[in-house]
Symmetry: C2
């Protein structure tokens, strides 16, 4: 019996339970809270974060970690693969938490919170100058944080930031993948546009689409996709997200009565995240090894539903019928072919969250380059707008008319989140690779999709991804499931088949 | 500068902030949570309760309390009335928290939780035997808790339990008031019934009353009563309640499409609780002195709206119009006279929560007697059903046909809450006394009620009750506001005027 390890598991379960309280209150803030509750809520969340941090940095933890490793080395049998991975992840979490001095954590949290507030106005008024100095402060504190993490973890500073979102993947893994995609895009995008222009133009179904009808449809689709509503809720918020805990997932969407698709596709996306959480190994609940394997893998699970499954020809046939039943009107616009032309349209655009799946990586590549340069000091915050516009021009041949549609559009940097952006595109690529493998390994997958039935796909994901938790890393999961670590060829093949065939 | 006192205020603010997290998650459990979230939620709430308890019983607290009192005695100027009361309340909270051994706290929480689960089935099947031994265990542990509190606080065991809900009021205060009410009721109830039988019979407005229309009405009425929705929400739950925090109050109701009044009167009741919370002194937020002055005072604030103001002739005129606008139909049933006959009807009945304001105290008197006897050991749990039925017969002349309509109807005892019940009737009496004083002191109060306007009443309550927080006790607040400590004559006068005049 490894007593030190037992103490650690109890401690980490307590820390995770505190995190669950934060997750629930975070969901409430976005989906339920009246505006007047914001000040008290900030205090509540800060207090919980502090309690979690204290529990992770308490002096006993270091001793327990040493003792647990020593006991494991001395005992026979040793910890099994789950516990061994768990112990590794605990050490890693402990190292990260202890690497950064408390004053720096507090200073960055404060600067991020202030900057984010100013950013809201700056974005609204497209006035980068308003937020520039705040962002510079956030970048400066983030560089200090990255330096502290870097020496503690033995990673490059930017990689140490990425590690917080996607453990085990660094800039050297990402850069060549992104470079190859840039080359692919330069060739593929004009061809896809040409082909699109030559094809029949899509017909927009006539609205309006009442919120009540959309909500019923969204709920029905989420249920059909396998979301267990005994352990989940669907609500509304300004920006769709998935939150809560594995046994009580809270997903949200937003409804636009002029658009039948935006809320629906958001629900499918968030359902992908939710299914991942609901499929995590419950025997290891509240332990690091029982958590999702990072944000890129999480994004792969939302995108495998939203982009791979739901936008497949087969599924669009079923989805069109479901929409027709929900909204009525002419049948023609709801047919699969028309829906495909509507929902699989490439378009060079300014806003990342509205981008199609082919141009989306360009938005991420730009941010990856710029944030790396800000962290290594080669790009000054004052020069960000110019660098952004130049980068957009290089990647997509377009220049934002203002900074609101440029470097002010995303909350991430202004809130202190550097190193997150690559997750989106790594996730998209992993989703394509997983889908290709699932198609090879699961008979009747597309036939089922034609019935709106993702059960065969989900069953495979449950075993290959969800049930693994964090016992394996992102690349290990891909290798076990598909035979290869991340291989961007699958994503390119997917895009070629969908947009160039 | 009293440094120890400053440390204590910081600690108590932290404890209160943990309590806010619990309050929010408690609201979520009742109003939002899918059933599958219950197990994780129980862990979350237990963890938060433990963290709060730890912070209150930490060894530094005792030293700080001693030091704060000593510093105060030695310094000039001494703490002001707010801080002095705050320090007293901190000591009291600390004493309560330290009086009961941790094992006993845990054992009682566990026994209560188990018993409450079994009680749900027992009530459904009207089978007291099923839950008897569980209740006996809860009573046994509660008696041990009461004994521990008793020696720490210098109060009789039952009073030490009451003190947890309504500080400063004990059985010796309550018993004579309840005895006098019993005498009053024996005379007044038959006369009220006689008068009611001889009067015109009420006409029920024809339903159904769609949930959407009821909700719009409830929201409009709460707003009209002064509820600030920038700091509040109205939702649905199985049992109406008021929760959350002073800057983010969450009230709930439940809708019955065959009954226009139940959800509406519940919303008025919960709005009374919510207005109290919203009116607490914000300068003392998160400190004991800034909290409501106990559950009896809290109940007085819900009942002064629901029973005193909203059921007044004047307000019913306005409310009938609002209902007519909301639900349409014939005008006659919505007139004040008919509404008064519908909503001010005395009736000997089995269920406390459905009782009218005249018979309600009989339900409370019965529970007060029985729980006191269980705590002093003179009533065995096995004899509870018989004692209940005998008591009901003595008080209201009726005998429940089964225990579901008898001693199984309320959750309180099964969940370990002894000493709470008197608060309901103390609150009703305080509400009558406060209303009588408000009518004397505030010009135009009833004229305003005739417009659905409680602003004059609310303004008076803000100053006389809400803004006082816990700087004064229940009886001190009443004395300052009305010239007398609790005087049950006001409640009897109110009932005489309403039911016998």
């Amino acid at each position: 019996m490894n007593e030190a390890y037992a103490c650690l598991t109890e401690r980490f379960r307590r820390i995770a339970t505190i995190g669950e309280c934060s997750a629930m209150l975070g969901w409430d803030s976005a989906a339920m809270m009246p505006p007047g509750g914001a000040a008290a809520r900030a205090d509540q969340l800060a207090l919980l974060a502090g309690l979690g941090h204290q529990a992770l940095t308490a002096p006993e933890v270091e001793a327990d970690l040493h003792q647990a490793v020593a006991s494991d080395a001395a005992s026979d049998p040793a910890l099994d693969a789950w516990d061994a991975a768990n112990l590794r992840l605990m050490r890693h979490a402990w190292r990260r938490a202890n690497a950064v001095p408390e004053e720096l954590v507090v200073a960055l949290a404060k600067a991020g919170s202030t900057c984010e507030k100013v950013w809201r106005t700056a974005r609204e008024t497209a006035d980068f100058a308003l937020v520039r100095d705040h962002l510079a402060e956030v970048v400066s504190l983030t560089r200090q944080t990255a330096a502290a993490l870097s020496s503690a973890l033995g990673l490059a500073p930017y990689d140490a930031l990425m590690d917080g979102y996607q453990p085990g993947i660094g800039a050297d893994d990402v850069a060549p993948v992104f470079a190859a995609y840039e080359t692919f895009l330069a060739d593929a995008l004009p061809r896809a546009e040409e082909r699109q222009a030559a094809a029949a133009q899509p017909v927009r179904p006539a609205g309006p689409f009442p919120v009540a009808a959309q909500e019923t449809l969204c709920r029905g689709v989420a249920l059909r996709l396998g979301l267990d509503f005994a352990h989940a809720r669907l609500d509304q918020s300004a920006h769709p997200f998935s939150g809560g805990t594995p046994t009580d997932v809270r997903i949200t969407t937003r409804y636009d009565e002029t658009d039948f698709a935006s809320a629906l596709m958001a629900v499918i996306h968030e359902t992908g995240h939710a299914l991942y959480e609901q499929g995590l190994p419950s025997a290891h609940a509240r332990l690091p090894v029982g958590e999702a394997a990072g944000m890129a893998m999480h994004e792969s699970q939302s995108l495998i539903l939203e982009m791979q499954a739901a936008r497949s020809d087969a599924f669009l046939g079923w989805l069109g019928s479901a929409c027709h039943t929900a909204f009525g009107g002419e049948a023609a616009p709801w047919r699969a072919g028309n829906l495909a032309r509507l929902l699989r349209r490439v378009q060079r655009s300014f806003i990342r969250v509205e981008a199609d799946e082919m141009t989306y990586p360009a938005h991420v590549i730009l941010r990856f380059r710029l944030e790396r340069a800000m962290i290594d000091g080669s790009l000054r915050v004052a020069d960000l707008p110019g660098a952004w516009n130049e980068g957009m021009h290089g990647l997509l041949g377009i220049i934002p008319p203002d900074d609101a549609r440029g470097c002010l559009q995303d909350i991430h940097w202004y809130d202190g989140a550097f190193g997150y952006f690559p997750s989106y595109t790594l996730g998209a690529m992993a989703a394509a690779q997983l889908m290709a493998a699932a198609r090879e390994q699961v008979a009747g997958l597309d036939a089922a999709l034609g019935q709106g039935d993702v059960a065969p796909l989900l069953g495979w994901l449950r075993q290959a991804v969800h049930g693994v938790g964090s016992r394996l890393t992102f690349n290990e999961i891909l290798r076990e499931a598909t035979g290869r670590t991340l291989d961007p060829a699958a994503f390119q093949a997917h895009l070629r088949a969908r947009y160039l065939a």
